[in-house]
């Protein structure tokens, strides 16, 4: 059972890695976008899925990662790798500085507070000369989609391995305990403030890396696109649809939803805008614990699974 599972995952990974050799340019470009958003969903999974803090601030980390790369490459003529590290450092500092006060809030209040962060960052960055103000920055182009594709895939693997480590480490158990019952976790000796801040930072680091790769790939960023709150909503939908707090759920959610969304926007344009809204409603009402939980329990419960979820909302 376990070995077949690992074999399947490795096979899927090998096929994904080979896409640039057999796929069209369009497929590779779609792949880069889908893989990066899967990284974002996986990053959100750490703070939202494991620690239970629904962050709307992860697009800020994404933006900081983008600007880290852009500023380092454009303003300081540094290599891409240094830019990525600069973005990561920005995200980590931001996570600690803002995480400490904001992570004291719980539930909706935390969500609202982080929602405001993205707006604030857009306004701030629009006025920073180093960041090109509201005009943005144009990066030196690198026309090598297969490279960006493999980079994104590598990052997704790294993020997923990190989450796998969470499920069997003291740190991960501490986060789950915080999610399930924060006061109960503290009286058992979990340093909740430290753990939440570390989770926020780790989550932010992956978002920043994704943002950095994306910025170099599209070669242009401005405050509006870098700190796009819509991106944050997308990563949440994907993580929640796939299964928050699971190792592979967010990846499956992100890749499958990206594929459907891409198909709709090219085939039935008028319906594409509705798609994510419909997914949210369906996911929340029918399978609030995500695809992973549904696949696990549908086998034993059948259609009763959905009925039970609807009932538990007391609609």
């Amino acid at each position: 059972m376990k070995t077949t599972r690992i074999a399947l995952i490795l096979a899927a990974l090998a096929i994904l890695a080979a896409v640039p050799w057999f796929g069209s340019d369009v497929l590779v470009q779609f792949g880069i976008n889908a893989l990066l958003i899967a990284v974002l969903a996986q990053g959100w999974n750490i703070i939202g899925g494991y620690a239970g803090y629904a962050s709307f601030g992860n697009s800020v980390f994404y933006g900081l990662g983008s600007y880290g790369v852009a500023i380092a490459m454009v303003q300081w003529q540094l290599p891409f790798g240094v830019g990525l590290m600069f973005g990561v450092a920005l995200a980590a500092v931001f996570a600690v500085l803002l995480g400490v006060p904001v992570l004291r809030l719980r539930g909706h209040y935390f969500a609202i507070a982080t929602l405001a962060l993205a707006q604030v960052m857009t306004a701030i960055v629009s006025n920073v000369k180093l960041a090109g103000q509201n005009i943005g920055l144009v990066l030196p182009p690198l026309n090598n989609d297969p490279l960006f594709y493999e980079l994104s895939l590598g990052l997704l693997v790294l993020a997923t391995l990190t989450i796998y480590w969470l499920t069997r480490s003291r740190f991960g158990f501490g986060l789950i305990a915080i999610r399930e019952n924060e006061e109960g976790a503290a009286v058992m000796g979990v340093n909740t403030t430290l753990y939440k801040t570390l989770a926020f930072a780790l989550s932010g680091i992956f978002s920043a890396l994704a943002g950095g790769i994306h910025a170099y790939w599209v070669t242009f960023i401005d405050p509006e696109s870098a700190f796009d709150i819509g991106l944050n909503i997308k990563m949440i939908i994907m993580a929640v649809f796939g299964g928050p707090g699971t190792v592979l759920g967010p990846v499956v959610g992100a890749l499958s939803l990206s594929a459907v969304s891409e198909f709709l926007s090219s085939e039935i344009t008028s319906l594409a805008g509705l798609f994510f809204g419909a997914v949210v409603v369906a996911a929340v009402v029918l399978m609030p614990r995500g695809l992973a939980d549904m696949l696990r329990r549908f086998r034993s419960m059948g259609w009763r699974y959905f009925a039970e979820n609807i009932r538990s909302h007391r609609l």
Partner: protein, 244 residues
């Protein structure tokens, strides 16, 4: 006997209400101290003040001679203060085993870093409280009595020196109460000092070495169970004054 925990002149106010009013007492090493009192007497507040989920308005709490007040909740747990909650706080999405393993992973001295070892310790604690057969269940699948035991196992897995039990017998039937009493006696025999808050007077009378009675946040009696329960002040607190 020496005191492991000293509560001295502790007061806690909630906007106008004094939940705990200048209460002082000591928990001796290896003793079972029962705290009783009518509803709203301040019993749970007292436990929260010791475990750190609430801060006292004034007074001091010493653990092994050292003030606990500057320490956050998790640091107190790492020193060896374990507590259960009256309103149980299991981690519902985790298995019973992993609920308890969290205690072993953290807990006194920082806990056990290895998950496999923590689970082993958790298994021992679950056997100890009589939940050995339920290890693989999800915590939210347990019934009320099971959850009470789970609360105990979680607190014990942190390897406490002092165990604070908040109404672990409430809602249990007589047989179950007897079993929990047995568990708490075994806990004491392992050298852990226990403070038990209880509503069920009969149960606590046979269990406690000493009793402390709170009423409206004030300590009205302290001493051996027999004489405390027959004292006039305690009878009045529970039953009201006899009208002449």
């Amino acid at each position: 006997m020496t005191a492991i925990l000293e509560v001295s002149h502790v007061t806690r106010r909630f906007e106008g209400l004094v939940a705990v009013d200048d209460v002082s007492f000591a928990l001796q090493r290896g003793e079972i101290l029962g705290v009783i009192g009518p509803n709203g007497a301040g019993k749970t507040t007292l436990i929260s003040l010791i475990s750190g989920t609430l801060a006292p308005s004034s007074g001091d709490i010493l653990f092994e001679g050292r003030s606990l007040l500057p320490l956050p909740v998790y640091r107190r747990a790492r020193l060896g203060i374990g507590r259960t909650f009256q309103i149980m706080r299991p981690f519902p999405g985790l298995s019973v085993l992993d609920n308890v393993a969290v205690g072993a992973l953290f807990g006194r001295g920082g806990g056990q870093a290895q998950l496999a070892k923590a689970r082993e310790l958790a298994r021992v604690q679950l056997d100890f409280v009589g939940l050995g057969k339920n290890v693989d269940q999800r915590a939210d699948e347990l019934g009320g009595p099971g959850r009470k035991r789970l609360e105990l196992a979680k607190a014990l897995a942190t390897q406490p020196k002092v165990l604070l039990c908040d109404e672990v017998m409430a809602g249990l039937n007589l047989v179950e109460i007897e079993e929990v009493i047995e568990v708490i006696r075994k806990v004491r025999n392992e050298g852990i000092s226990v403070l038990v808050i209880e509503h069920v007077i009969k149960a606590i009378r046979s269990l406690s070495d000493r009793l402390l009675v709170l009423n409206h946040g004030v300590k009205i009696a302290e001493g051996d169970p027999g004489s405390v329960l027959s004292s006039q002040a305690v009878i009045e607190a529970y039953l009201g004054k006899r009208r002449a």
